[in-house]
């Protein structure tokens, strides 16, 4: 008896923590997964928006010329660690960047930094330089967020919320991890039997519960991975800070080289580098070594610039579809260009690999469209698990004993559904906007984001006044379905890249996004028209509805075969 009491206690405690943590993070988590599932296709969406084709890595960049531009601007390059590279994108650019110098005096000339003018020459910079004309576009980093894909990406970790946004996202991911583990514990004893249960004709609460548990179990590995990696990306500061303070005594350089083995750490020699190898020639010979591989990007890192022990590291990222571990690097001594250290593509030490595994898993960078498609589906399933979780919470409170809070609960549910389904609608609307508003408009992107948020907020307000969950869902799906079908049409009118023309012309991204929206729009409309408000209300409270464990439901369970199709409809009715 005591054993049973204990089990009941554990069950109820974990059930409660699962509910509380789940409800608290629900809206945030929904935004993470929903916007994030679009952000998987960030580059595709950006190229679709700008009607461009994926660019290749440029091998003809004159880094010496870029360095000379920085020097001409009055920065003292001696002793610096300098990063250089080329960024492909809508506006490709060469970057040359360095953090502020932390030294008292120039180690080569021995001159002390003291006056006001010197403080500029030792400060940090981020030069963005045009790759064809070598004009300086900017002396500090300007984040290029003014594209639809990039904006959805930023939205998925709440960057629009100033400063704290990403930390909120990190904590949402952390509590998501807590919620999925408690969820599995609560569900453990019935994990197999309930997996094959789908009581479609029983009460609405049974329907939500079965959908929540079965789809939740299917998505567990995926969700666990995203909870951990998402928490890391949001709270990476929390990961590194204690080790930095307690083990490395605040010395960032030392710590960085143990996380990134391609960054070495050498004392400055204090002697002038008299003659050095040409960086462009070194780049050329490095790229020649990688000749048979498809190079996505190369990063250059020079340490102790102008010191006699200056070194340069080339880190290359190879295309991820053929190599899961896609990073290789070589370190050369800059004085004579001899190779000091090398990591071939096939040798992957534990240190340094963890981060690339995390990155590959989180950004689905390892299997092309197929893996991204599966990620998208699983993300949609997760969105459905989140919504159904809240629906269970609400349905469980449609009882006499919660009568006094009925009004409040109804409003919470309506606003919740308005926010979730409104996001789908607003994203579809955002896609349309990019093809409607004229390109030469002033503040075009700000207007678009303002309209996106107004639309989203507007739908939530509508939901608040409507209070009819079925209507809120159905109307959002109908509208989003129609907008989804309109998107490829608008793109065709706007750019002439109709999806039957874009593929032969080589506009893969344009074709992919158009067709995806078309399919998504059609599925959404079918789901909307198939959905019917036929569910019975929860029966009044009785003994059989309390949460003692091990109790069997009195409602007959449908067989697996008969319910195959309704599961799909129920799932897709929430947003695929």
């Amino acid at each position: 008896m005591e054993e049973k009491q204990k089990n009941n206690r554990n069950y109820n405690v974990f059930f409660n923590t699962h509910t509380v943590s789940g409800i608290v993070i629900s809206v945030g988590l929904f935004v993470c997964f929903f916007a994030g599932s679009f952000a998987l296709f960030l580059d595709n969406i950006n190229r679709w928006e700008n009607n461009t084709i994926k660019g290749e890595y440029r091998e003809d960049i004159d880094f010496e010329r870029a360095l000379a531009l920085v020097k001409a601007d009055g920065y003292n390059l001696n002793d610096r660690t300098i990063n250089m590279g080329y960024r492909e994108g809508a506006n490709p650019f060469i970057y040359v960047s360095s953090g502020a110098l932390k030294v008292e005096a120039d180690s080569i000339t021995g001159k002390k930094y003291s006056s006001e003018r010197d403080s500029i020459s030792k400060s940090g910079f981020y030069f963005m330089i045009g790759p064809d004309t070598y004009e300086v576009r900017s002396k500090e980093f300007i984040r290029d967020r003014e594209h639809l894909g990039s904006y959805l990406y930023a939205l998925h970790y709440f960057e629009p919320i100033p400063v704290v946004g990403i930390y909120i996202a990190g904590f949402v991911a952390l509590f998501f991890l807590f919620a999925i583990i408690t969820g599995i514990i609560v569900h453990w004893q019935k994990i197999i039997s309930n997996f094959f249960t789908f009581r479609l004709k029983a009460t609405i609460k049974n329907l939500w519960t079965d959908a929540h548990t079965a789809l939740g179990v299917i998505g567990i590995p995926f969700q666990f991975m995203y909870a951990v990696t998402g928490a890391f990306y949001g709270l990476s500061l929390l990961v590194y800070l204690p080790t930095l303070l307690f083990v490395f005594d605040g010395d960032t350089d030392k710590m960085i080289s143990s996380v990134f083995p391609n960054i070495i750490n050498l004392e400055k020699s204090g002697e002038q580098l008299v003659e050095r190898a040409d960086i462009n020639k070194l780049t050329e010979s490095y790229l020649k070594e990688l000749d048979d591989l498809e190079v996505e990007n190369v990063f250059l890192n020079v340490i102790n610039y102008n010191n006699s022990n200056a070194h340069i590291t080339f880190t290359a990222n190879i295309d991820t579809e053929s190599h899961f571990f896609n990073s290789t690097f070589s370190i050369y001594r800059l004085s004579d260009g001899t190779l000091v250290k090398q990591k071939p593509l096939s040798e992957n030490a534990y240190e340094g690999s963890v981060l690339s595994v995390v990155r590959n898993l989180h950004f689905a960078q390892y299997g092309g469209y197929f893996i991204k498609g599966i990620y998208f589906l699983l993300a949609m399933i997760t969105c459905f698990v989140i919504i159904s979780g809240v629906m269970i919470w609400l349905a469980a409170r449609e009882k006499k004993m919660y009568e006094h809070r009925k009004k409040f609960n109804t409003y919470v549910g309506a606003i919740y559904l308005g926010l979730c389904l409104g996001l789908y609608l607003a994203i579809a609307f955002f896609f349309c906007l990019t093809k409607i508003l004229p390109a030469e408009m002033a503040n075009r992107f700000d207007i678009m984001t303002a309209m996106f948020y107004s639309f989203w907020f507007g739908y939530t307000v509508y939901a608040y006044f409507s209070k009819n969950y079925f209507r809120i869902t159905k109307n959002a799906l109908i509208a989003a379905g129609i907008l989804g079908i309109i998107i490829p049409v608008l793109n065709g009118i706007h750019s002439g890249l109709w999806f039957w023309k874009s593929l032969p012309l080589g506009y893969m991204d344009s074709f992919f996004i158009d067709v995806s929206w078309l399919v998504m729009g059609v599925i959404t409309l079918i789901a909307a028209y198939k959905s019917k408000p036929t569910h019975k209300k929860e029966k009044p409270v009785g003994k059989e509805h309390s949460v003692e464990r091990g109790q069997k439901s009195k409602i007959p369970v449908m067989s697996k075969e008969r319910v195959k199709e309704p599961i799909l409809v129920a799932r897709s009715s929430q947003g695929i």
Binding site: V13, F232, P242, V247
Partner: protein
Amino acid sequence: MPANRKYLIQSGWTRFSKVMAAILGSLLATYALHIALGYLLDISVILNTSIYSIFIVWVAFMMMVYWIKKAWKSWAILALTIAVSSIVIYAGKTGMI
């Protein structure tokens, strides 16, 4: 079917104490454990592992806090973890290991 109230904590203070133990106490214990292991084993391996293990261990401590009925018992376990780890860290810092 909200959880049965009779099994949940009623007192506001105990609840607050549990939340603090779950979030703050667990985080500190996780940190201490990781840094101590870093001194015992290889710091760069532990640092790379902590990219994912920090969150898993943190959540495991959170679960422990809610699993153990009495809040003071969970605090005691967390404090013990921190204390033992601190001794290891101290030994590591002063070069004894």
